[in-house]
Symmetry: C2
Subunit: 280 residues, 2 copies
Amino acid sequence: MGGARFADKLAAAVARNDSLVCVGLDPDPRQVPDAVRARADWLAYFAAGIVEATADLVCCYKPNLAFYEALGEAGLAGLRATLRAMPAGVPVLLDAKRGDIGVSARAYAAALFDDLGADAVTVSPYLGFDTLEPFLAYAERGVFVLCKTSNPGAAEFQDLVVERDGARRPLYEHVARAAVRANQQGNVGLVVGATHPEAFRAVRAAAPDLPLLVPGVGAQGGDLAMAVGEGQDAHGRGVLIASSRAILYASRGPDWQDAARAVAAELRGAINALRRTRAR
Amino acid sequence: MGGARFADKLAAAVARNDSLVCVGLDPDPRQVPDAVRARADWLAYFAAGIVEATADLVCCYKPNLAFYEALGEAGLAGLRATLRAMPAGVPVLLDAKRGDIGVSARAYAAALFDDLGADAVTVSPYLGFDTLEPFLAYAERGVFVLCKTSNPGAAEFQDLVVERDGARRPLYEHVARAAVRANQQGNVGLVVGATHPEAFRAVRAAAPDLPLLVPGVGAQGGDLAMAVGEGQDAHGRGVLIASSRAILYASRGPDWQDAARAVAAELRGAINALRRTRAR
């Protein structure tokens, strides 16, 4: 981690590994293979095993802080060990979804970027973009703003229609437009689920140049075709397809690394078959 | 911490200490007294000193996770020591502003309620109330939902006007109404700044029975009069006035505990002069 700008590091990893796959690290003690869980250092060991199996197939790793925090001191130690073992050429996006104001926002930015050394993070927009400035001030790091999420209740607030300047748009489009305005240093991205194609297209139209982090897409099905087809830029990039449990927990047996690699390779292949297939 | 329901524990502390003061614990290594900072155990020592000086003047302590996370392992150790030393009769509200979906939301709830043992937490509503269910499922704990914040840019999204069911309301009112609907077990509260009286009144009108956590109010000025006057219920309760730095950093000298106590006592007195002053 650290060193190059996130955008450059990401582009280099996308090119080198010919991949738009972002592997989410959601270490769940109830789901890892028993042989892994039996080790005192299981958190770091499991992550290192996943990295070893997939480092040439992915463009990004995305540790999810929720899972580490649920494990207390062992979680923080495991996260540090995991971050130390990351391959130099693959950026690390810490999925933190932080959002606070003033000095608290600065403290969260310091925790994620300075203390943990993240190349990029996820943040929440509800408090307004002024509260994201402490994150955006790290020009060389990436800041992915929650925009339209994939959970069943995402519509409750994100889809509320707001009339402004004579146009009626859902809240998530306002967030996307604000993200474009905030992208003065080329370090802003958006988190957009693929479960609602119209919303996905609207976000892409509002923010044609921002990288999109797309969670919750399986290797099969229309979501992936839509996300890659609509999300990619003219160079077949600009979209990160995140997958966690399908890769991490592909097998609980001794073949867990091979199984994880196979699923990651399949996802990369399915994505690449969809890249550069349509003119924009 | 733990034991009684948050609502009962809070009501008991409000009554016993005749106080609506919630002391925010924002431990900043650049602001604590030098004599405190010089100690290896400064985090826990400082919090214990503040608690010792104020425990009979307050109804709640609110550690802000941002400041602890910025300090890495030492921060987590200091937070644990601080939580262990909390007086049994004063509830602890962990200011975390978390918001994530599905299993990640469950992991955050477990981290805050099970691992850290919070009596209450703050959460973000942007992803929809379905994502808050893992928190709300802890019926005996409090869940304060960000509604209308006090930062300059809060209006950017929170004030966007949404037409629905024939009525035009700002987004924060939709959040307040959703919080009322989610309050099936009497464990939901709202975070509402006092800097915009009209918004504060609208939230109180939409959620007449929910406790309001009000950050960023000084001991002087109209904000406090408005927040207490408009926020209190028929019993002169139902509102938590949060103050952090004005109390914590009242003095950097050897009198820091006395100074903190004096500011907390002044705030309690100013609030109590405003309680039960108007019929509702």
